[in-house]
């Protein structure tokens, strides 16, 4: 009978805002493409790391922001991705771009398997289980039986790749573009995902698991797959990070890295994909800035800055950007 109800009109309001949004995206992409030609090499390196962090934060956001599962263990996935890439290049001379999918798949499998028992844990208990993973990872990487592959405490040093096809780019510029390319793909995929039936199922589980189950959503399947996909994102970030920094060592991947990603997630906005770029920039630049204010108390200054930010912007950058867009739209209509 419902078929006989007249077809409702899809609101027209969406159309211009969609064009506006795409225009904004293209403009931002153009800026991102021009940036490495106008700034210093070291800043290019830092911007590349912002992108790397952004990919990892998107991964965490898919899990925590969209699916409601907490993780303090994403440093472990980042480490796994980084080591897989480093070992492949070091031991079997893998070309660096080919390490990314391998690292991603390895982390997906590991994350999915970790997600299965984690299904029984909720909220703070899941946070504790993932915390254990984060704490164990650097120690496992240092184990002497694994030293042949992991390099033990020393880690692995990687060569910095040159720009291919004789492109007139510095190594830093080339790595920036390579990372930007991967970042754009990963961002678009994440955006597609959260706007789809799968994304709605993920958010339904976050908002009300009982109702989600009654709507026919297979909670175990979506939760464990989301865990895997989240680990995949973070693992690819780890692999890129290893290539960019040219070095992996156990103590780069402590529990503190998990917290860094979590800070980036909250600062950027939980449940908002573009927030990862704000979050990535924050966790990369603000600690340095804090150190420039006070060397001795940089940690405290950083802490105060986080508190101030949360106080002013409780929903992170997402709240600020949304409010700005709303004001812009209201202005246009007038």
């Amino acid at each position: 009978m419902l078929e006989s109800v007249p077809e409702p009109a899809v609101p027209d309001v969406l159309a211009p805002s969609l064009i506006g949004r795409n225009g904004l995206m293209l403009a931002l992409l153009a800026v991102a493409l021009l940036l490495p030609f106008v700034v210093q090499n070291f800043l290019i390196f830092q911007l590349t790391l912002v992108l790397v962090y952004a990919i990892a934060i998107i991964g965490l956001n898919l899990l925590t922001g969209f699916n409601g599962q907490f993780s303090l263990g994403h440093s472990a996935f980042y480490a796994l991705g980084a080591y897989v890439a480093a070992m492949l290049m070091d031991k079997v001379d893998f070309p660096y771009p080919a390490t990314l999918p391998v690292a991603g798949i390895a982390c997906f499998v590991f994350g999915f398997l970790f997600g299965l028992p984690a299904l029984r844990l909720e909220g703070v208990y899941l946070a504790l289980a993932t915390f254990a993973l984060a704490v164990a990872t650097p120690q496992i990487l240092k184990l002497s039986p694994l030293e042949y592959w992991t390099g033990g405490v020393q880690g692995i040093v990687i060569n910095k790749p040159d720009a291919p096809f004789g492109l007139p780019l510095t190594q830093d510029q080339w790595l920036y573009f390579f990372t930007l390319f991967v970042t754009v793909i990963m961002t678009v995929l994440a955006h597609n995902l959260v706007a789809s039936r799968t994304g709605r199922a993920m958010m339904a589980i976050r908002d009300n698991p009982t109702a989600a189950r009654s709507m026919g959503i297979n909670i175990a399947l979506y939760k464990s797959l989301t865990f895997g996909v989240s680990a995949l994102y973070t693992g690819i970030a780890g692999a890129l990070g290893a290539i960019v920094v040219q070095f992996v060592a156990p103590d780069s991947f402590t529990f503190l890295l998990s917290i860094t990603l979590l800070v980036g997630l909250v600062v950027g906005g939980v449940g908002w994909i573009p927030g990862a770029f704000f979050g990535g920039a924050f966790v990369l630049f603000v600690p340095n800035f804090a150190e420039s204010i006070s060397k001795g108390l940089s940690g405290a200054v950083y802490g105060v800055m986080i508190i101030l930010l949360i106080f002013v912007l409780p929903t992170g950058a997402s709240g600020l950007v949304r409010a700005a867009l709303q004001r812009l739209r209201a202005h246009k209509i007038q």
Binding site: R197, A211, G216, G271
Partner: protein, 261 residues
């Protein structure tokens, strides 16, 4: 046991549920014929919501069986119940509060559409088509229940009565053959209750759905139900047409809090 054709859509057979020694349901049996509106009444703690939770597989009965379309639902995991054709609303609202009205209703249609993780991430043409047709279906339901004005709004910020209606819309989106309504009138004002009884009748007429409704609002139950089942202390104490159940001595004593018989 020889297979026998039955005319009932739902058959509840001798169902018992207990929580750590406390008996919530005991020996409850009844049948629902297709196309009926059946009221489920009883004082607080009578076991009405427990029964609903068994029907949607959130609880598993300790004994007895529940047949839907002549096959037991107890062998099915909870997430397959919607696909079988049993939809429900919840007593205290169980909406996805951070999502829009349309998203909530689309999630209601989850079991009637297909996609997978990878195709969704790649935004493949076939998932786009599935998404468009799901969206269209949901928008029809939105119009059907008069929710057009709030379609893009976040559910959590809507008034209570509107949220209840969104929940109803979400349940309809799964194209149920059996619709379980848990206290649909609870918290609604007089006009909203009037409108609700018209909507429930309209849904039955338009959508070919059987409706089981738990309700404390006697005026509503008695006016819309073809049949009423009364529970008290986890047992069925009466079943029949509303006028008869209303006069049943056990029902009256259950509601007036007189001695348990």
């Amino acid at each position: 046991m020889p297979a026998r054709a039955s005319t009932s859509l739902l058959s509840v057979r001798d169902v018992a549920v207990s929580f750590g020694g406390i008996v919530a349901l005991e020996g409850v049996s009844f049948d629902l014929e297709p196309g009926l509106i059946v009221g489920l009444i009883g004082p607080n703690g009578a076991g009405k919501t427990t029964l609903f939770n068994c029907l949607s597989r959130l609880y598993t009965p300790s004994s007895g069986d529940i047949l839907f379309d002549d096959s037991s639902i107890l062998a099915r995991p909870p997430h397959q119940i919607a696909e079988l054709g049993i939809g429900r609303t919840f007593q205290n609202l169980a909406l996805f509060r951070n999502l829009s009205v349309l998203d909530n209703i689309n999630i209601g249609g989850h079991c009637r559409s297909r996609s997978d993780y990878l195709s969704d991430a790649l935004h493949l043409p076939w998932t786009r088509r599935a998404e468009t047709s799901l969206d269209l279906r949901s928008r029809r339901i939105v119009s059907y229940l008069g929710l057009d004005g709030v379609i893009e709004r976040r559910v959590g910020e809507l008034p209570f009565g509107t949220q209840k209606r969104v929940e109803l819309a979400r349940a309809l989106a799964s194209s149920p053959r059996l619709l379980l309504l848990d206290e649909p009138a609870c918290g609604l004002n007089h006009e909203e209750v009037e409108a609700l009884s018209a909507i429930i009748r309209q849904i039955r007429a338009d959508l070919d759905v059987t409706i089981l409704v738990v309700e404390h609002h006697m005026g509503l139950v008695m006016s819309i139900s073809d049949r009423v089942i009364a529970l008290n202390f986890g047992r069925k104490i009466a079943e029949g047409v509303p006028s008869l159940v209303q006069q049943d001595a056990q029902v009256i004593s259950a509601y007036l809090g007189m001695q348990r018989t």
